[in-house]
């Protein structure tokens, strides 16, 4: 039993090479959607 791999406190070096591009785009789309809808409703509040 080697150490390293089974030790949860050791970062998995392979993680750095995983592509997160799709995740990044999905997170940003959701974030922009939340911000845009919030400000659209705030504009509605101010106009009334």
């Amino acid at each position: 039993m080697t150490k390293g791999k089974l030790d949860p406190h050791q970062p998995d070096q392979k993680g750095a090479s995983i592509s997160l591009k799709g995740t990044f785009i999905a997170v940003m789309l959701l974030g922009v959607f939340i911000l845009v809808s919030w400000f659209a409703l705030y504009a509605l509040f101010l106009s009334r």
Binding site: P11, G15, A16, I18, L20, K21, T23, F24, V27, M28, G31, I34, L35, W38, F45, S47, R48
Partner: protein, 167 residues
């Protein structure tokens, strides 16, 4: 701790959004003075006439200064009491000029009611034992329907009125 470059970006974006909305809440509450409409001001629901604003002769629309109005209303199942006109008929329409500042003061003698002027920002809960207040500038002309939006009993749908904003 190793973080992926994209992870850093979306964490900063997320924390930035939290900080932005927290700042907006602080701005609204402390600078603009936006609070729950009851302001925790109490009144005896059995004896609302003891309060000046809700004496029968003080109900309805009053001009207190140039362009400033107060509307006193008593909600009860299933009616909004806007006072009476000079002929003694119940007022059902409140008429104010465009751009006027109107303070709505409302309380209830019986159960929980709502006071929403559809199409404006006026939307309050009316709870027995509390006075709900909302001050706003009537920016847009038109006829706006006042509706009760808290189910108050069998005649809930009969509870309505009108606010008319003219040029």
């Amino acid at each position: 701790m190793h973080l992926h470059k994209y992870e850093k970006i979306w964490l900063i974006f997320g924390m930035g959004s939290l900080a932005l909305f927290l700042a907006i809440i602080g701005f609204a509450a402390f600078w603009k003075g936006i609070h729950p409409q009851s302001h925790i001001e109490t009144i005896d629901p059995q004896n609302i006439e003891a309060h000046d604003a809700f004496k029968p002769e003080n109900l309805g629309l009053h001009e207190v200064a140039d362009g400033k109005y107060i509307v006193n209303i008593v909600a009860s199942a299933f009616n909004y009491d806007f006072g009476t006109d000079e002929n003694g008929n119940a007022v059902k329409t409140i008429r104010v000029p465009k751009g006027s500042t109107v303070l709505y003061q409302i309380t209830t003698k019986d159960v929980v009611h709502g006071f929403q002027v559809a199409g404006t920002n006026i939307n309050m809960m009316v709870e027995p034992g509390h006075i709900s207040r909302f001050e706003t500038v009537m920016k847009n002309t038109g006829e706006f329907t006042v509706v009760c939006n808290e189910y108050c009993g069998i005649g809930h749908h009969l509870m309505f009125g009108t606010v008319e904003v003219y040029e």
